[in-house]
Amino acid sequence: MPNFKLDDREIPFEPGETIIRAAQKAGIDIPHYCWHAGLSVAANCRMCLVEILPPPGRPAMLLDILAWDADKQEYLPQKKPKLVPSCQQAAADGMVVKSQTSEHVDVARAAVQELLLLNHPVDCPICDQAGECRLQDYWLEHQGTKKRMRDEPVHKPKAVVFGPTIVYDAERCILCTRCVRVSEELAKDPVLSVRERGNLGEIVVAPGRQLDHPYTLMTEYVCPVGALTSIDFRFKARVWFLRSTRTVCTGCATGCNSFSDFDPRNQKVYRYRPRENLAVNKFWMCDDGMLDHRRIHEGRVLEARIAGAAAAVPTALAKAAELLAKADPSSTAVVLSAEHSNEDNFALLSLAKAFGISDVYQSARPAGQGDDILRHPDKNPNTAGVAALGKASGLKTFVEFVEAIRGGKARTVIALGSATPTGGGAAALSDVKNLIAISTHEGPFVERASVVLPASSWAEADGTFVNAKGMSQESEKAVTPQGSSKPAFRLLAELAALAGKPFAWKKLAELRAAMAPAAPRSVPPESASLGAE
């Protein structure tokens, strides 16, 4: 692999790669605003300027400038090398690049930083970006002076509602055009553009339109300053109070890699952020996925119920174990769920095996809209995983499940999951004599269940999900289980133990070891984590 030299460090690069991307892959962050690895190059912020030394034996390209001489108290003619934006300059073998070690680069970055803050309102106390704002970070790192402009800054519109998800503040905007490029290149909907020039410039939505494509929150995500804020997250939390875990979005079968940002003090998830994975979601997530964090706290089943009345979890487990012990295996069925992780489904399959239940069905959320960018029409995170796990047991569809109920073959049912696919069938659940539902959310199962066991959601337990491409991805636990809920695999283990046939595994690691032959793990080739981009 060819190399170039950046500040005395050898950086390898793929042919055609730019200096900034190669440096980023090597873990060096060249300061930048407008460049984003997933977008085209605009080179308009001028923050990533670097000095490239001329090839040996060739003269450097020099510019004539006037520099202030403090001793002589006058401007003297001098020469300065022409700096290059590292986001646009392709790396070449043997190239020598100076970034931090060049005094000309230092001067240029300080000047760019001062220019960007000339008309900035500095309203960090009420800005949601505070704490993860590049203007703040680079002000500390690169700006040498305080603001020297004494005039009133230019004022521009504030709190402009761009659409159902985004609010725009033109005064904070540095016109990097990342949001414009996201709309155009990622969402294929060029609804944003720049109006006016220079310090009067601002981002506007196309006349007669709203910013309402399915990837609007990516415009907020790429915004390096606080100009675009998400209505969902606006004023909800301060980012320095939040902690992140590496999770997988469970909104659809794409399985986008994400970070769950939660406040450890009140155990609440406040937002998702895309996590870079070039094999799955590249740098992005859709709006539905980004807002899916709400379902962690909304519509949840947090208490156990027996025949619709609230009960303690141990009581409900005892009741379920009693129903299970009395049931005739030939008229008993289990329902796996594509909403749940491999671990939960494997635990239910183990239970079925232990009690000699041969009828294994599957429930899922109804299908929805998809596109050829990220969104998958299958709105379940683990359809492929359930299919692989249930293959040996002859996994049957939900339609067959409804037929089995009507035929009296499913009098006792242990069902995982909360939702049922479209096309009816939910009403048929009323005909199940003993329905034990292990559910995270309110839904048809919970409404009609004899015993409801509250399961933890994906954010409250570790889990493995297999996406539509067949990649098995692990999602980490973010918050502690809410209410009296427990991870479904734990509830199932306790149920099996109470009914007299305990599982061989006790811990999650043991469960995963037991599951390994049935669901071989294929971890996607995740690209190196490149930090918060």
Binding site: P125, I126, H155, K156, P157, K158, F235, R238, R265
Partner: protein, 217 residues
């Protein structure tokens, strides 16, 4: 203990011996000593009674440099607190009575006792402050948990929280009473009797306010 330290023998005690009090008959019978102690008590009792009756009490501010015992009849009488005494918090107000606070959470970030809870809210569409500011929907201080360090006052960028009420932490009989909500905090005046903030930030409608759109309206 190994051989080396054992060879050194017991450690020599360094210090001056203090003689024990002599157990004389007057000490052992207690009576004369009790009479002596009561004598001192009665001396102060009569002195204080005399000072109270004749109005000869020391100035409470200067008492530290005056001779004699200085008593004040708390709570009818109170020692004046120094000018920078940190009392119970208050939230300052704007001219229209709205809280000056913009719910930036700097105070709760700085708070080492984590006793400040704020829920930020946005001004509704059409409000002149929308976009410029936000406000605390809830602002709660747990005065029981507060350590009165004053970091919140230092951290506040808009002079919204102050500890200049001159009220010291009051004793209550239940924990709930120490939870001070926004309305209560805004009701306390400063020691000068004012509720207003000293923050000169331009308010919407003032000539110094930059305006909400490009034409400064």
């Amino acid at each position: 203990m190994n051989n080396e330290t054992a060879a050194l023998g017991p450690k020599k005690v360094v210090g001056t011996p203090v003689p024990r009090p002599q157990r004389t008959a007057s000490v052992q019978t207690y009576i004369p000593e009790i009479a002596k102690g009561l004598g001192i008590t009665m001396k102060h009792f009569f002195q204080n009674t005399k000072e109270m009756a004749f109005g000869q009490r020391n100035d409470p501010v200067l008492e530290a440099i005056e001779d004699g015992i200085n008593c004040i009849s708390y709570p009818e009488q109170k020692r004046p607190y120094p000018a920078r005494f940190r009392g119970v918090h208050r939230l300052t107000q704007r001219d229209d009575g709205a809280p000056r606070c913009v719910a930036c959470l700097c105070c709760s970030t700085a708070c080492p006792a984590q006793c400040i809870h704020i829920e930020a809210g946005e001004y509704p569409e059409g409000d002149p402050r929308r976009g410029y500011e936000r406000f605390p929907q809830r602002f709660v201080i747990d005065e029981l948990r507060c350590i009165f360090c004053g970091f919140c006052v230092e951290a506040c960028p808009v002079d919204a929280i102050r500890m200049d009420t001159g009220i010291h932490a009051a004793p209550y009989d239940s924990r709930e009473q120490f939870i001070f909500e926004k309305e209560l905090l805004m009701a306390f005046p400063g020691r000068d009797g004012s509720h207003l903030t000293a923050n000169p930030r331009h308010e919407p409608g003032e000539s110094t306010h930059p305006g909400l759109d490009r034409d400064h309206h």
